[in-house]
């Protein structure tokens, strides 16, 4: 994965704009005054201790969680409680989960074809071609007719990535995609994500894989207690952290 990012371009176009966003779970203030602008083509890694609100932040971007204050604009569409806007945004934004969340009653191929057929109204044949194309891209076309339960964790996560890609999203969100995997499977999933980055996909990745952050990200965001504490280019972030909390976190995560 070395040098993957060097030749990648970031355009001036804004993909995601978050201003003064606040969110509460009941009376618990989980996200506080989040301001974040993501340009098209950026690869952002979000890091931070457990419970800092990383998952909640990216789940707000595709409206899996509702925010109470502030403005989120995705691809020019303002995220409000209007169901139509939410559906537009969700079909533009792909998401991969820690536990893959494949549909166990459908084959790999059916998992990949379902949303294009039912949401995008793509004809069966075209959906099949797209699905096979992306399954080849994540290097498991031969598993197409198996069920998710018959695949290894790494393979399942790659299928989950392919399933999102079949909707031809312009932005991909990853919530700890490798943290439920055994070490030998982490690499195959990270490699898939690197390929995705090389294709110019806008990505926000919550992960503890600092190697990935260093090599692929163009920006690292550190969160704690629901706030963005520090953000910087990976070199500066890792080699010269400014905030004490960042230093503590990095020493804990890189220390051993």
């Amino acid at each position: 994965m070395a040098n993957a990012k060097k030749q990648l371009e970031i355009s001036d176009e804004v993909a995601i704009q978050i201003t003064k966003m606040n969110k509460w779970f009941g009376s618990f203030h989980v996200l506080r005054d989040i301001d974040l602008t993501v340009q098209r083509g950026e690869r952002i890694v979000v890091a931070g201790p457990s419970g800092s609100g990383k998952s909640t932040l990216i789940r707000c971007i595709n409206a899996l969680e509702e925010h109470q204050e502030g403005l989120i604009t995705v691809d020019g569409t303002i995220l409000s409680s209007d169901l139509k806007n939410i559906d537009t945004i969700r079909s533009e934004v792909g998401m991969c989960f820690q536990h893959f969340n494949l549909f166990p009653h459908l084959t790999i191929l059916e998992n990949c074809m379902l949303a294009p057929i039912w949401v995008r109204k793509v004809p069966q044949k075209e959906a099949l071609e797209t699905a096979m194309h992306f399954l080849e891209k994540v290097k498991i076309p031969e598993q197409a007719n198996k069920y998710p339960g018959q695949l290894s964790g790494g393979q399942q996560q790659r299928v989950a990535i392919a399933r999102s890609l079949c909707m031809k999203p312009r932005i991909m969100l990853f919530d700890e995609p490798t943290s439920a995997l055994d070490p030998e499977m982490i690499k195959e999933v990270l490699d898939t994500m690197v390929t995705l980055a090389e294709d110019g996909m806008t990505m926000i990745v919550v992960t503890h894989e600092m190697g990935f952050a260093r090599e692929v990200a163009n920006r690292v965001i550190f969160m704690d207690e629901g706030q963005i504490i520090e953000q910087n280019e990976p070199e500066a972030f890792f080699d010269n952290p400014q905030n004490d909390r960042t230093k503590l976190f990095l020493s804990q995560i890189l220390g051993h």
Partner: protein
């Protein structure tokens, strides 16, 4: 020092398992005579089975098939030297003489072919639902079947079931056209309002006109002549077919974010579950008349079908809610994040999995419902149990007990056991290795 290095030079050949592990003898030794307590237990159980069968089998094999009364049975048994008064043998003459009645109640015997035909057609209608590999085109017949069945069993003018069916077609087109031209809310309203107008206002004048132009029909049968297993199956199948979709809607309603909808569903489910079925049946048979406009003749069997369906729906809703709750939250989130709307997510992702988890519970509810149809004898309908009481009141068969109820139990067992086997087949078929 011990030498720890080892390299295998020859492969150990495969040997047959020792006799104690394989074959019938091995199985018996391992499962029934493995140690002394196990052996004693095996002996005791074998003795009990022997005693039970030794008493029941001679009773079952009794040469009384052709007798015409209980007295004749007793004399036949006494002649061959068995106890003629008590349990010397079964009196099967009653089954020979009355089994048709147990099947059809007081349905006119020259028209038995009508219920038989509708029972056979039921098999055709169910085939595409129950098994893959049956042509999907038959599903069209499945949709029409209830009306065919109604007409075959009750008879009367063909125009009545046809025009009721047309009401559903009107509902469908009302939804499609309303949805296209004015949005989904108008579509739903049209789908509900138009058929109601059709059924309650237009249907009877149009029917009488059609009947005077083209009086097609067959001999009408009054509801009080229906009985026996035909009645049990009619009520049972209606209840089963309707309680599943209603139960699904109730379960989804109970999980809904809309407080009023949720409240209505919770109240309905809890109320129905809190009331015995017999109470509901009494309401159907007596109280309902008080609320209906005077003079309206609302068929008793239809009322009972509605009550049994509502009763089973409430239980079904809870069984399905269990299945919904067992699904990980991630399935909902994955469906949402792919942009599927609520109904598509339910239909394609959530329900197929939730229903699969609930299969054992659903089938238990079906079986319970089918057996509960015998309760209708309490409000005077002639289901198999009601008929048995009737038959026992006959002078010739006064005193018969085990033969009748045993026969009824056997038939119920065949139906319920088939349902249970089918559910196991379905579970195996749907297993996808997770």
């Amino acid at each position: 020092m011990v030498d720890q290095s080892f390299v295998r030079t020859e492969i150990v050949p495969e040997k047959p398992a020792p006799l104690s592990q394989a074959g019938i003898i091995g199985w018996f030794r391992k499962n029934m005579f493995s140690d002394i307590p196990n052996t004693i237990l095996t002996g005791v159980v074998l003795y009990i089975i022997f005693m039970v069968l030794g008493n029941i089998l001679p009773w079952v094999f009794s040469p009384t098939w052709n007798s015409v009364s209980l007295t004749e049975c007793r004399s036949i048994l006494a002649e061959i030297g068995r106890d003629g008064h008590g349990n010397g043998g079964a009196c099967w003459g009653v089954i020979r003489e009355r089994w048709l009645q147990l099947m059809f109640g007081f349905y006119p015997s020259e028209l038995y072919w009508r219920p038989v035909l509708s029972f056979l057609l039921l098999g055709v209608a169910l085939a595409p639902v129950l098994f893959d590999g049956v042509s999907r085109k038959i599903l069209f017949f499945t949709a029409v079947y209830p009306f065919v069945c109604f007409w075959l069993i009750w008879g009367g003018s063909v125009w009545f079931p046809i025009s009721v069916f047309i009401g559903f077609i009107i509902s469908y087109f009302g939804f499609v056209i309303g949805n296209k031209s004015a949005g989904s809310l108008i579509g739903v309203l049209a789908a509900i309002a138009l058929p109601i107008i059709w059924w309650f206002i237009l249907l009877s004048p149009i029917n009488s006109v059609l009947n005077s132009i083209l009086p097609l029909g067959s001999e009408a049968i009054e509801s009080d002549r229906l009985g026996g297993f035909m009645l049990a199956i009619l009520i049972g199948v209606t209840g089963i077919a309707l309680s599943l979709p209603i139960g699904i809607l109730l379960a989804l309603g109970r999980q809904s974010d809309l407080p009023i909808l949720k409240g209505v569903c919770v109240c309905f489910i809890e109320f129905i579950r809190g009331v015995p079925l017999i109470t509901l049946l009494f309401v159907a048979s007596t109280l309902l008349n008080v609320f209906l406009p005077p003079g309206s003749n609302f068929d008793l069997i239809l009322r009972v079908m509605i009550m049994v369906t509502l009763f089973a729906s409430a239980y079904m809703a809870e069984v399905i809610r269990g299945g919904l709750a067992a699904l990980p939250k991630g399935q909902y989130e994955a469906a949402d994040s792919l942009g599927l709307d609520y109904w598509k997510a339910q239909r394609l992702i959530i329900l197929p999995q939730a229903l699969k988890i609930s299969i054992p519970g659903i089938v238990s509810t079906f079986i319970g419902l089918f057996k509960d149809t015998t309760l209708v004898s309490i409000i005077g309908l002639l289901d198999p149990l009601g008929l048995s009481t009737n038959i026992r009141a006959d002078m010739a068969w006064n005193g018969i007990l085990w033969e009748l109820y045993g026969f009824v139990a056997l038939i119920f067992f065949i139906f319920c056991f088939s349902m249970s086997r089918y559910s196991m087949y379905l579970e195996r078929k749907l297993a996808t290795g997770h």
